[in-house]
Symmetry: D2
Subunit: 442 residues, 4 copies
């Protein structure tokens, strides 16, 4: 890496960008970013300019020599980059809204990461990511790809299997959120908590929890299953876990587990929400609109506090923290999506997992966790089966594989309904799924 | 084993017994059974006498020196036995009816083998089986336990983990049914077909299909996914698979997969049936009543053809075939439930699996199958997780583990509903679940 | 397979051929061979004609319609073959003599199968075998390759990794010899003994021993470690095992283990023999000369009993037995070299192992053995490491890999001596190792 | 852990103690040791007093409030300890001299860690370690056992399998020595080098080497195999590796690999040394004598530079570094001996391995390394087999297991010679091997 770090951010027009910029500003002393290239496509140009100008004002206010570049030319941005971050959304929030709405028509959760919606998000995203990987191979072969485009697990799996670049990390804000939740629950500083995370993206478990190096897992489980004290669990989704379930499980769950261990209630909730306030995508669309209005304000030169309501808190910060640790060979422990290499038994060594890693200059090194507890092995394997079939479907554009992926998703109620959802969604997302239609057109 | 083979059949009053007896008669030349002990409990005495007398007439007609003993004294029956078969049902069909009805109240499939109903069948059955194992250890330590009491997979898992006897085989008629179905589809004799079976009980897949030693799997899949020819699939449950799903899956499924890959349709069907004709248990109760009326006929001295409508065809025959192969060291290939020992990758070596085995005098030796195809690994692991937690719950009588087992079952819609079903079922089956209540009473 | 079975035997001029022919004659009823093609190279033409004429007389005497063809045209022989057996020896016995003599110069055992000599036998043989595989792919893609050219383990590993045909079995007479030894020790008929074999070629262990299906392993170990009764062990190599070693090992060894667990005595013995009577190759050369004199006798029309002194008893018979079981889908248990598929834990699934298999029309299906006992895991892994590096060296002609393979062989005393032996042997075998020299010449 | 750290050092009279004390002094700011208890047995009392007084002078000079306690009462020392370090030697250097001399009589390397000598060192040491573990369970259940008594791998394996305490780390100075060697070779500061270590104690490989996070493994291998530049390799043992061997191996070896990949030269060297200057133990005895003379000097109040000639450089420092990282939850990367947990494929999860770990307050967390390269798997497994059988022999006092362990050691030339060595050594070490003799006496 050269003295002046160059960052290329694909999907630079995202509303998250101010958080990213703030992260770089905060860590400038140890992570001297010289160039930050925001890249977007024609449709995102306006948003990129708004957010890019805010970024410029933030940097200026901080008095730092970071050059912000705005471009539609991805190849120029990638040339010689040290880190490439991806936060784009193929089809924008409109596509997400479809991912959520269409399955709901069949009484099925959309779940835009590792559910039925996530399948189609993956089908749209993976070809683009692989295309970026091919560009990187040519233009910045030593760069790290820091992906936080969802479904991050499936995308990482696809890059590991189908791309030639090997320096890829998938990132998620869920584990850091759990750590912060635990810290709050125990009323201690976040830095004193460490959790052994293992599983898959949005399907990660906290196998053990340490406060100052001493296991407090049992205590935490006791607190979150105590009806007089269960603030922690309730906060996450407004739905509490059954204490018996959590106690016998014996490990910490993540909020996304609600979709799997509480599917019926979640589908009812989503149906109700979809009716009353719109799906999450639709809510976010409104929030984003407001955010961009704020961003336009020429007097605004910090990350506006309203961004945190957008959700995805810590996301960009997690990315900057990771880049920081790689750049400085910091060797701290962070949970990321990377190649398993035996860290979690019974998941193939060459598959992507989400696991606590030591972050070195050579990237994340997963900590060996042994086997997952018996009760959670099944669901983890099921999502991994889903991710792998889905990744193959994304690459091949194979219809049957798509139906199969949808059917084996734990949220799917049957092969027949899976096929119906697939048919509807293929139609709805047609323009973003060329791999499924091009041959027919030819 | 001594010259004169002694068989002890626990649950001897079962309506299946005539099939068992017929099996022994047919194979008498190579499998000279001298004593067949039918054992039952007080509540089953009347049925045992009816079916026992029919058995005696059958043997007499065949002119064979097989002594039929009827007893309520299990220990006497076990003493010096060479093979112990178990076909009992704790709580009889009434209990099964509850296993089916209670989950349906919550819109959940009962599925009395590896579903919610199966959990409670396991909780009732496992302590009894382990008790039989302890008796066997003392009274017939060299005998083989041939279990076909369901849930056969969970029961085999429990025996492997919690009993001291090691000579146990779990048996199922599903694989043989699939082989027969394929033979019929291809219009060839059953003996020319061989299928590589691997998975778990009622969750078994046909990884490859051979006709005269040549793989015809692709052809079979083509036939069963051809809408003009899909007689095979339709026959099983009246519901056909989506061709895309089956083609991409690339292996043969078993009928019980319907519960998992077609849950919504199955629950609707079961709800409808429960309303119109009663649950399967209730239908079987009526069938059994008629069967026992037939059995009483002093002129009946063969297995009545009506037995085949009872379902469970080939069950007892499969048991006799297995006993025959062990006794004669026949070394043929049969799919049974046994310890994995590495035959299926990613299932622990010491867990029970259902897999094609060579049957030797020293019991079944599983054929190494390598890993399961990616798309099916998840569901198999999920059922294995379920079976293991359920077996532990059965042995410990632990409430939290029971809620956990119910929650992680793939048919469960949520932890909360799982808990409700558990609470209802614990109450309903109270008298057969002493391990859950005794301590409280004490 | 067509009605008339066609066999192609590469290295048809071997002195073993009469045993092969005898095997086909004995089993003709169930295994109706119509054509047996003996193939050899120019240098082997004379021997092939002698043995081929004997074969013709044998078939005539038996009154069977088996056509014996003699040819130097391998492709003609392969065309449409059902089974291809390989028993050739690149460089003939002269090369073997070098494999044995050169390491001895350095005080190192030659051990022509998985020792230093075996490395060079592999380097000479593997390219020829892979060439045959390419021909088979084109000329008889459905045929089975039954290899009994040593080093059979390394050759099978190479075919599994580097050839496109998948129907390959490596064969060895060692396991059958152990079974016969045990039968003799217990004074029972061979058919009543079954041994669970697991390991690698010439590095196979008997994990358990059954007489009529009951384990007699402990009894056998007691007998072979009883100084008053240790006829079994002594017979094999004239050197007895230490009883303590065998008892604690707890499994049966094979004769080739002498080279590894008794290296020093073996090297002394080989040095003495080499001086007094010549190496084994030289002894065999004399025996073969005598045998071929016998074979020339126009009145000889059976396999002459003197062949058994040649060593390698049961070799060809084992091959015919295997062909017979595949052809008739016999499903008996035979120990062969095949792809592991999980049968032996901690050996990769895609590596060759020697293990008890059920022999079906679709070939051998390995029986899952779980893990090897702790004390034997190391040596097995070491030979497997050696086989894999050696196979790669054979395919690439890479000098460094050859030195590495020689160094990691358990019989090697050091990297420096390994290099010296490699240098000497490369020079000595130059004409049969084109892959190491051709590039230089070009 | 309480404010004031208490360290108990078993074998406190060791000549290494000043290095340990120096380490604590250097790190006092972050690792405030309040009490250091040196424990020894009666025979070591004099040396303990000499070294203990030096320790007191060192602490005084440093002006630190560390209390040095000298005691023969192990239990008093253990009570409430935070860390227990073990550096004792059962039978002192006399026993080591026997470990080295006796095998040499048979032309076999003694190799006092994982060779024949190491077997007996293990037999003497393991029962004492397990005894310490039992005391710790009672007196300081939360303490960490930092073992650097050799054979550290076998001892760690034994503690993991046979003790109840789980907080154990085995330590070795070999990996740090390799890192320093590489740093010197590349002429860079040690802190810029990181090596992925994986294997077993004294059988560890450097799978990759990073300079500032970029792999320089190929460059390092090129340098150490360049005859004009091979200073690195030659320095270690005076014997160079064959460049072909190292290049094809493709990973870094450790000095102890000389015993296995260069056995013949090493045995010749050891025989020569034994004759000319005595075995290593005898040399060390002389060095120690001189050292203790130095230590007696009442004016000496620092670690004397002569200690470094003793060998074992960095040993005690490595221990203090480890304690420091655990105490401060430092999360740096150190190679230690710990439970595998899947970090190295094909070594059982519950076995001890030597592997790069992140050091947390909860101890070392191994980094997942995937599988070892093919060429090294065999030797690693062989040493692991040896360690496990040896540990079992140490615990049971079983003669046959001892002969087996000796026979399967890669340095053993045969079962018969192994037995002879075992017999001689049992006799020679009789007084320190009560588990082999007590039953006979009783």
């Amino acid at each position: 890496m050269t003295e002046g770090i160059k960052i290329a951010t694909i999907g630079g027009g995202s509303s998250y960008t101010p958080e990213l910029v703030e992260g770089f500003i905060k860590r400038y002393d140890e992570l001297p970013v010289r160039e930050l290239w925001l890249v977007d496509i024609e449709e995102g140009k306006e948003k990129m300019e708004i957010v890019g100008n805010l970024a410029k004002r933030m940097v200026q206010k901080a008095g730092l020599p970071i050059d912000i570049h705005l471009t539609l030319d991805r190849r120029e941005a990638l040339k010689g980059a040290d880190f490439v971050t991806t936060q784009f959304r193929v089809g924008l929030l409109d596509a997400r809204a479809k991912d959520e709405r269409i399955p709901l028509k069949y009484g099925v959760l959309g779940q835009e990461t590792n559910g039925p919606g996530g399948l189609f998000k993956g089908l749209r995203t993976i070809p683009v990511i692989l295309d970026i990987c091919r560009d990187m191979e040519e233009l910045c072969p030593d760069a790290w790809l820091i992906n936080f485009t969802n479904p991050a697990g499936m995308v990482t799996e696809a890059v590991l299997r189908y791309a030639n670049i090997k320096k890829v990390v998938g990132l998620c804000n869920v584990p850091i959120g759990i750590e912060m939740g635990v810290a709050k629950l125990l009323d201690v500083d976040h830095s004193r908590i460490r959790i052994d995370f293992a599983g898959l993206n949005h399907m990660v478990y906290g196998l053990d929890v340490y406060l100052d190096g001493v296991s407090v897992k049992d205590k935490v489980i006791e607190m979150i299953t105590d009806p007089n004290n269960s603030s922690f669990v309730k906060n996450i989704e407004g739905l509490g876990w059954e204490p018996s379930f959590v106690k016998a499980l014996g490990v910490l769950t993540c909020p996304y587990h609600m979709y799997y261990y509480k599917s019926r209630e979640m589908v009812e909730k989503d149906l109700k929400k979809a009716k009353e306030e719109g799906t999450r995508a639709e809510v976010v669309q409104r929030l984003e609109k407001e955010l961009f209005e704020l961003y336009k304000d020429p007097n605004l030169d910090i990350k506006p506090p309203q961004l945190e309501e957008r959700g995805g808190a810590y996301y960009s910060d997690a990315a900057v923290r990771l880049i920081h640790s790689i750049y400085t060979d910091r060797r701290d422990i962070q949970p990321v999506n990377t190649m398993n290499r035996g860290a979690i038994a019974s998941i193939p060594d060459d598959s992507a997992v989400e696991v606590s890693c030591v972050i070195t200059k050579d990237g994340p090194k997963p900590i060996a966790m042994g086997d997952l507890p018996v009760p959670v092995r099944g669901l983890v394997q099921q999502i991994k089966s889903f991710e792998r079939v889905a990744a193959e479907a994304a690459v091949t554009g194979d219809y049957d594989l798509t139906v199969l992926a949808m059917t084996i998703n734990p949220l799917s109620p049957s092969d027949t309904i899976a096929k119906q959802i697939v048919d509807d969604m293929l139609e709805a997302h047609k323009e973003h799924l060329p791999q499924f239609f091009n041959e027919v057109q030819a």
